[in-house]
Amino acid sequence: MTKTDGTPAPPVAVSFTGAVKTFGAVRAVNGVDLEIRRGETVALLGRNGAGKSSTIALLLGLDEPDEGSVSLFGTSVAQSVRAGRVGAMLQEGRAVPRVTVRELVSFVAGRYPAPMPVGEALALAGIEELAGRRVDKLSGGQTQRVRFAVALAGNPALLVLDEPTAALDVEARHAFWASMRAYARRGHTVLFSTHYLEEADAHADRIVVIDHGRIVADGSGEELKRAAGGSLVAFDLAGRGTEGLSLLPGVTAVEVRGDRARLRTDDSDATVIALAELGAIRGLEVAPASLDDAFMALTSASDSVSESSSPGASGTPGTPGTPGASGASGASDTDLETVR
């Protein structure tokens, strides 16, 4: 889903340079370098507490970085916000009492220099039929869509969505992402944060993985999977032991569940040939590492090798971040609970 940007180097929408934000002893944003070009749709992926919201607060000018700088469209954040180039759906926002949906969306649209017609904003957010209703009388999912309409009412060049689908059921989620994509297709830049891997993979051109306030990976879903290393080779043990499996070519990790062994491998071909020589092929299955695996490998790696992984400063999408290689090593399935 790369968009057809104009060929002469498209201007940069978002630029972080060594941004740091500290709250007491916690470095919530710990040296972030990031560049997002106009028209990109980028997911900011991370666990709860990884620094997503703090990064977004810097990007919107709600907080000032302690070190480094953040700029939007080549100017300061404050100037861009004043010029109406930014619209945002904030995480902690709740329903504004005693106004109707139309009143609220019209009011916000009216603050911007070139808003979209209110009817269009309501239609895009899928809440036309709620226009006359009081915002504080709506359900959680409906409120969420009203907040989406508020974010895009001004027709901003940069739309920022902090965990936008948190209160939505499955159906509403689909509708929401369809709306978001429709907005992105108009050539706008969209940045959304999520801790759902599937969402990031399905709806963004580019995924920026953040952990402990640092960017630990940056690229498309495919690239992240590749960077995290390898494939999974699974087969039935059929009674044979597991000794020696970790020494097979390419294998980086071995996991046994009941009578089935799962080998994580850098080189699935070599692993399979070795298994064949052992005569161990029973119910063989070779699968690429899932994005879940990639995500776990990337974020758990940053715990152990935090210093060596310089954050992906390239800023050019399509170039995966640096830490992929180290990522595969320490990945264990024991930190499953930290993923969601």
Binding site: V96, R111, G154
Partner: protein, 238 residues
């Protein structure tokens, strides 16, 4: 700015609590206090001004309650990512306060003229309304100071304490001639007492005393500074 004012005034007038306590209550209390037992006709006029002042103070403080609420629900934060400047937001809020005091003042004055038969010259009615309107500004600032500084719940409590305390102490409910001497002198330094004097002076046919204006101006300065300090402090966290 006008849009913001319109939005916030609309939101305030749709607040049942505001309509009941800010507008209904002062009218009801005025009619009760002036029609129970034997009453001096002059008391109907003095109490009318006092209760209009009481209503205006309540409505002005209520503006701060709105700010605290908007802070809690993240609406102020949302406004910060629109092109509106913080200054516009604060100014809009202060103006909202100065609009929403009008129904309270008007309702009590109407009750005085139509129900209690208070007779004044046209210029006196107009001057009382305008002076009460302008004189409510310090109380709007006090409310804003509370609203920016405190949480929604504590703002509600703080506003109520300010409202009732200042109303009773300032003699808006009962004439201060009933107070003991020491309390009377305390009362003359309250903003509410001087606020009501703006109106009672006009009702008696003369201009407000310079002392009343001076005391009120001092409070305007104090509450204004309080509002600015509170706002500055909260601006970092909103």
């Amino acid at each position: 700015m006008i849009d913001y004012l319109r939005l916030e005034v609309r939101r305030t007038l749709r607040d049942h609590g505001f309509v009941i306590f800010g507008v209904g209550m002062p009218v009801m209390m005025y009619l009760l206090f002036t029609n129970l037992g034997e009453n001096d006709p002059a008391w109907k006029t003095v109490s009318m001004v006092g209760m209009a002042a009481y209503g205006a103070v309540g409505s002005a403080l209520n503006t701060g309650g709105g700010v605290a609420e908007d802070k809690t629900i993240g609406w102020l934060r949302q406004l910060r990512v629109t092109p509106m400047t913080p200054r516009q937001v604060v100014t809009g809020r202060a103006l909202t306060g100065s609009v929403t005091v009008l129904p309270s003042i008007a309702a009590v004055l109407l009750a005085g003229g139509l129900v209690n038969g208070v007779r004044l010259d046209v210029w006196q009615w107009a001057a009382i309304a305008v002076l009460l309107w302008l004189g409510s500004i310090p109380f709007t600032l006090l409310g804003l100071g509370n609203g920016y500084r405190l949480t929604a719940q504590t703002t509600g409590v703080a506003n109520m304490v300010c409202n009732l305390g200042l109303a009773v102490l300032g003699g808006l409910w009962f004439p201060i001639t009933l107070f003991p001497g020491w309390l009377r002198s305390v009362s003359s330094y309250t903003p509410t007492n001087r606020f009501a004097q703006l109106g009672t002076a006009v009702a008696e046919g003369h201009a407000p005393a310079p002392a009343a204006v001076a005391v009120l101006a001092a409070w305007l300065l104090a509450f204004g500074s309080y509002a600015v300090v509170s706002y500055r402090r909260s601006a970092r966290t909103v």
